[in-house]
C-alpha cells in the first residue's frame, strides 16, 4: 500500500485517539503535578440556622470566595512537583514502618495506597490462572459434547459475561449477605451462623469467586474458537503414536493455543488491575479497597463539595504505571514469538 493511502486510512483514527486518549492522559499527568485551589478570605459573620422552636444564631468563621471582575470566584493553580505523589505514596511513613520502632509491613498496609495495591495485585494474580484454567476446561468440555446441544450450551455458558458487572456483583452480594438465600441455606447445612460480609477474607473470596465466574466465559469463547483450528492430522498422528489424552493436551493443544493464552493473559491483566465494580457492588470498602476505587474515592465530592482532583490524577497515573509494569513481560514474550514467527 502506498504511504499516502495508508496515512489517509489511519488519520481519522489517529486524530480521535489523540483527542480522546492522548490529550486526556496528558491532562491527567499535568494535573497530578499541579494543585488548583479557590482563593478565599475568611470573615467572622453571624449565621442563623433553624432549630426546633426558633432560630439558633452563632458567630462563625466563614470562608468567603474572592471574586474576579466577572463576578466568578477565582482559583489559583500552582506547580507542586512530586508533592501530590508524595502525599499518596507517603515515603516517610514507609521508611518509619521499617525503622526500629515500626511494625514493618503491617504499618505499610495501613496506608491507603499500599492497602489498595496489595489487594489489586493479589486479586490480579490469583484470578489469572483460575480464569485461564477454567476457560480452557470449559472449552475442552464443550468441544467434546455432541454438536447438537453445543449451541445452547455455549449460550448458557456465556451468560455471566453478558451481565453488567455492577448488577452481577450486587446479585452475588444479595445471595450471600446476612439473610440472603444462599447464606440461609449454608447456615442450615453447616448448622451455624454465617456472616460473610463481616470480615475481610470472606469478602475477598467472594470477590475472587465473582470475578472468575464473570470472566471465565470470555476465556472460554476465545479458547473454543482456537480449538476449532487445531490441525486434525497432527491430532490423529498423536493418537496413532499412542499419546494419552493428557499428552495430546500438553504437547498439541496447549502449544497451539499459546498465542491465545497470552492474549487472554494480556487482556485479563489490564482488566483486573483496574478492579472497581466489585468494591462498590459488595460495599467492601471497610475491608478491601482497590487502586481504581481509591481514584474514585478521591473524585467523589463530599458533602461540602470538595474533591481531590490532584490526588485522583496521581493515583490514576500510578495505576497506569502498574499496568505497564505487569504487561512488559507478556508483551516481550509476544514480540519475541512474533519475530520468530515472522
Amino acid at each position: 500500500m502506498k504511504f499516502g493511502t495508508f496515512a489517509r486510512f489511519v488519520a481519522p483514527s489517529l486524530l480521535l485517539m489523540t483527542l480522546f486518549i492522548a490529550y486526556p492522559l496528558l491532562s491527567v499527568l499535568w494535573q497530578s503535578f499541579h494543585l488548583t485551589q479557590g482563593v478565599f478570605e475568611t470573615a467572622t459573620v453571624e449565621t442563623c440556622s433553624p432549630g426546633f422552636g426558633g432560630q439558633v444564631c452563632t458567630e462563625e468563621v466563614r470562608r468567603i470566595p474572592v471574586l474576579n471582575d466577572k463576578g466568578v470566584p477565582t482559583t489559583k493553580t500552582t506547580f507542586v512537583g512530586l508533592d501530590v505523589y508524595r502525599s499518596v505514596l507517603k515515603p516517610e511513613s514507609v521508611a518509619a514502618a521499617f525503622s526500629d520502632t515500626g511494625n514493618g509491613l503491617r504499618d505499610v498496609l495501613n496506608i491507603d495506597f499500599y492497602k489498595a495495591l496489595r489487594f489489586t495485585v493479589t486479586f490480579t494474580f490469583i484470578t489469572l490462572p483460575l480464569v485461564v484454567g477454567l476457560g480452557l476446561l470449559i472449552a475442552l468440555a464443550v468441544n467434546s459434547i455432541a454438536a447438537r446441544v453445543r449451541g445452547p450450551v455455549i449460550f448458557v455458558t456465556l451468560l455471566p459475561f453478558i451481565i453488567t458487572p455492577v448488577i452481577g456483583a450486587l446479585s452475588v452480594r444479595w445471595l450471600f449477605i446476612g439473610d440472603g438465600i444462599l447464606t440461609v441455606a449454608l447456615e442450615r447445612i453447616l448448622n451455624r451462623e454465617l456472616a460473610l460480609f463481616a470480615q475481610g477474607w470472606t469478602i475477598e473470596i467472594l470477590i475472587l469467586f465473582y470475578r472468575v465466574w464473570h470472566v471465565a466465559p470470555f476465556a472460554f469463547v476465545i479458547f473454543y474458537a482456537g480449538l476449532q483450528t487445531i490441525n486434525q492430522d497432527t491430532m490423529e498422528a498423536a493418537v496413532v503414536d499412542g499419546a494419552s489424552r493428557f499428552e495430546r493436551l500438553r504437547y498439541v493443544v496447549i502449544p497451539h493455543l499459546m498465542p491465545l493464552i497470552l492474549f487472554i493473559t494480556l487482556i485479563h491483566l489490564m482488566d483486573t488491575y483496574r478492579v472497581f465494580e466489585e468494591i462498590i457492588g459488595f460495599s467492601s470498602q471497610a475491608h478491601v479497597i482497590s487502586l481504581q476505587w481509591l481514584t474514585f474515592n478521591y473524585l467523589t465530592p463530599n458533602d461540602a463539595g470538595t474533591r481531590l482532583i490532584s490526588s485522583a490524577s496521581a493515583t490514576s497515573m500510578l495505576t497506569m504505571i502498574g499496568i505497564i509494569i505487569l504487561l512488559i513481560p507478556v508483551l516481550r514474550r509476544t514480540w519475541r514469538d512474533h519475530r520468530v514467527g515472522g
Binding site: L35, Q37, G38, F40, A43, V45, E46, T47, C48, S49, P50, G51, F52, G53, G54, Q55, C57, V61, R62, R63, I64, P65, L67, G71, V72, P73, V84, S87, N110, D112, T164, P165, V166, I167, L170, I177, G178, D179, A195, F197, A198, Q199, F276, E277, I280, S283, Q285, A286, H287, N297, T300, P301, N302, D303, A304, G305, T306, L308, S310, S311
Partner: protein, 406 residues
C-alpha cells in the same frame, strides 16, 4: 457506563422506597419554566408533587444531587433555578457564590414563613428551611414492656438493656446502627463525639479528634457493635429501617425522617410497636449523641429576577400548610401546618435535651470523609483507637492541604 449503572440501581432502590407522599393542590398558576434539583426522600417527593400541580415545573429528585448541584446551578443561565440543600450541602453553593440572597423576596411573599425557617448569613437570608432532621432513639415498645425494661437515657444504659434483650432471645439482634463504611459510620462517630463535647477542628482548621474523647467515642461504638448484625459495616439507614420492619432488631438510633417509615403498616411487620424517644446521652451528664440537620430551598444567582420571583412563590406553594398537614408524619416540619405527633416526639425530645447542629464547613466535609475511611479499622479490630484517630488526622491533613484549607 459503570457509574451510570450504579446510579440507576440507587435510583431504583430509592424510587421504590418512596411511598406515602401526598401531593397537595396548588393555588397558584405558574407560567415560568422552573426546575428543581434536590435529594430524594418522602418529604421532597411530597413537595415536588405539589409544585408540579402548579404547572411549568420539573423536579429532579436524586440521591446523588450533590454531584450535579454546584455545576447545574452555577451555569449561566442556571439549569436548576431551585436547589434542595441541607446544612452541609449548602456549603459549596455559598463558597462558589452560586445562590442569591432572598431578603426582598421574603419581604414581598414570605408572610407565611416562620422566622425560624430563614437561614441568615451576615444578615442575608440565603435559604428557606422547611424541616429538621436528627437521629434519635427508636425502640420496640412490646419487647421493652415484656421484659420490663425502661428506656435508656445514656449509652451505658443502652448497653445494659441490649445485653438483657440479647439474652431474652426475643429478636435476632438487640441493636441496629447505620454503621456503613464511609459517610454513615462517620456520622455515627460525629454524633457520639459531639455528645461527649468533643471538637473536630481548631481555629486554624487543624484536626483535634485524636483525643481521649475521640477514643472514648470509638470504644463506645465498638461496644455497641457487639449487639448488632455482624455485617454492620454495610448497614445504611434503609437497611436499619428494614431490620426494624422485619422485626430483626429491638432498638436503634435512627434518622427521624425514617420514623414514619418503620411504623408504616404497608411495609412493616411490627407497625405501631415502635416508639420514638430522645437520643441517649453519650455519657451521663453529656449531650445526646445526635446532631441537628435542616433541609431547605436555595435559589440560583444566574436567573432573571422574574424567574426568581416565580421560583420563590412556587417553592412556598410546595411547603404550603396544606402540603405539610397532609404529610404530617413524613418529616419534622418547621413550616406552618405541622402538628407534632408521636413520630416527631423523638426528634423534638433530642433537640430539647441539648443536641447541637452538625458543624458543617468545607473543612468538616473533609474531616467527615477522613473519619469514614479510617475509623472502621478500629471497629474491625485491625487497629487501636489511637492509631485509627491518628490515621484520621493524617488523612484529613493531606486532603486539607490539597484543598487549600491548611
Amino acid at each position: 457506563m459503570k457509574l451510570k449503572s450504579i446510579a440507576l440501581v440507587t435510583a431504583l432502590a430509592f424510587a421504590s422506597g418512596i411511598t406515602g407522599a401526598h401531593a397537595a393542590e396548588c393555588s397558584l398558576e405558574n407560567d415560568t419554566e422552573v426546575k428543581l434539583l434536590a435529594n430524594s426522600f418522602v418529604a421532597w417527593k411530597a413537595i415536588a408533587d405539589t409544585m408540579t400541580n402548579c404547572g411549568n415545573f420539573q423536579a429532579d429528585l436524586d440521591t446523588e444531587f450533590r454531584e450535579k448541584q454546584p455545576a447545574g446551578m452555577a451555569a449561566d443561565p442556571a439549569i436548576y433555578q431551585i436547589g434542595g440543600v441541607s446544612n452541609s450541602t449548602i456549603v459549596p453553593l455559598l463558597e462558589g457564590d452560586i445562590i442569591r440572597p432572598l431578603n426582598d423576596l421574603v419581604e414581598k411573599y414570605g408572610g407565611t414563613l416562620n422566622p425560624g425557617q430563614l437561614i441568615k448569613i451576615d444578615g442575608n437570608v440565603m435559604a428557606v428551611a422547611f424541616m429538621v432532621n436528627d437521629q434519635h432513639f427508636m425502640y420496640r415498645q412490646d419487647i421493652f414492656d415484656e421484659l420490663g425494661l425502661s428506656v435508656p437515657t445514656t449509652y451505658d444504659e443502652v448497653l445494659e438493656v441490649a445485653a438483657k434483650i440479647q439474652d431474652s432471645g426475643s429478636v435476632k439482634y438487640a441493636l441496629g446502627g447505620t454503621y456503613k463504611a464511609g459517610w454513615n459510620v462517620a456520622e455515627e462517630f460525629v454524633n457520639m463525639y459531639l455528645g461527649l463535647g468533643g471538637s473536630f477542628l481548631d481555629a486554624d482548621n487543624k484536626p483535634t479528634v485524636n483525643t481521649d474523647k475521640g477514643a472514648q467515642a470509638l470504644t463506645m461504638m465498638k461496644a455497641l457493635t457487639e449487639y448488632m448484625d455482624p455485617e454492620y459495616l454495610t448497614a445504611d439507614s434503609t437497611f436499619v429501617a428494614s431490620q426494624f420492619q422485619r422485626g430483626d432488631i429491638a432498638m436503634a438510633n435512627l434518622w427521624s425522617s425514617r420514623a414514619g417509615n418503620v411504623n408504616d403498616p404497608a411495609e412493616s411487620t411490627v407497625a405501631g410497636k415502635i416508639t420514638m424517644a430522645a437520643a441517649p446521652l453519650a455519657e451521663a451528664g453529656g449531650r445526646p449523641a445526635s446532631s441537628l440537620w435542616w433541609d431547605g430551598f436555595v435559589f440560583a444567582k444566574n436567573m432573571t429576577d422574574e424567574q426568581a420571583e416565580a421560583a420563590f412563590r412556587l417553592a412556598l406553594e410546595g411547603i404550603s400548610e396544606r402540603t405539610v398537614s397532609e404529610n404530617n408524619d413524613e418529616a419534622v416540619w418547621i413550616a406552618n401546618g405541622f402538628t407534632p405527633g408521636p413520630a416527631a416526639a423523638g426528634a423534638i425530645a433530642t433537640a430539647e435535651t441539648g443536641a447541637v447542629p452538625y458543624p458543617s464547613s468545607t473543612a468538616m466535609g473533609l474531616m467527615h470523609t477522613a473519619l469514614g475511611d479510617n475509623i472502621t479499622d478500629f471497629l474491625t479490630g485491625r487497629e487501636s483507637a489511637e492509631q485509627a484517630l491518628k490515621d484520621v488526622e493524617s488523612a484529613y491533613t493531606t486532603a486539607a492541604k490539597e484543598a487549600g484549607i491548611l
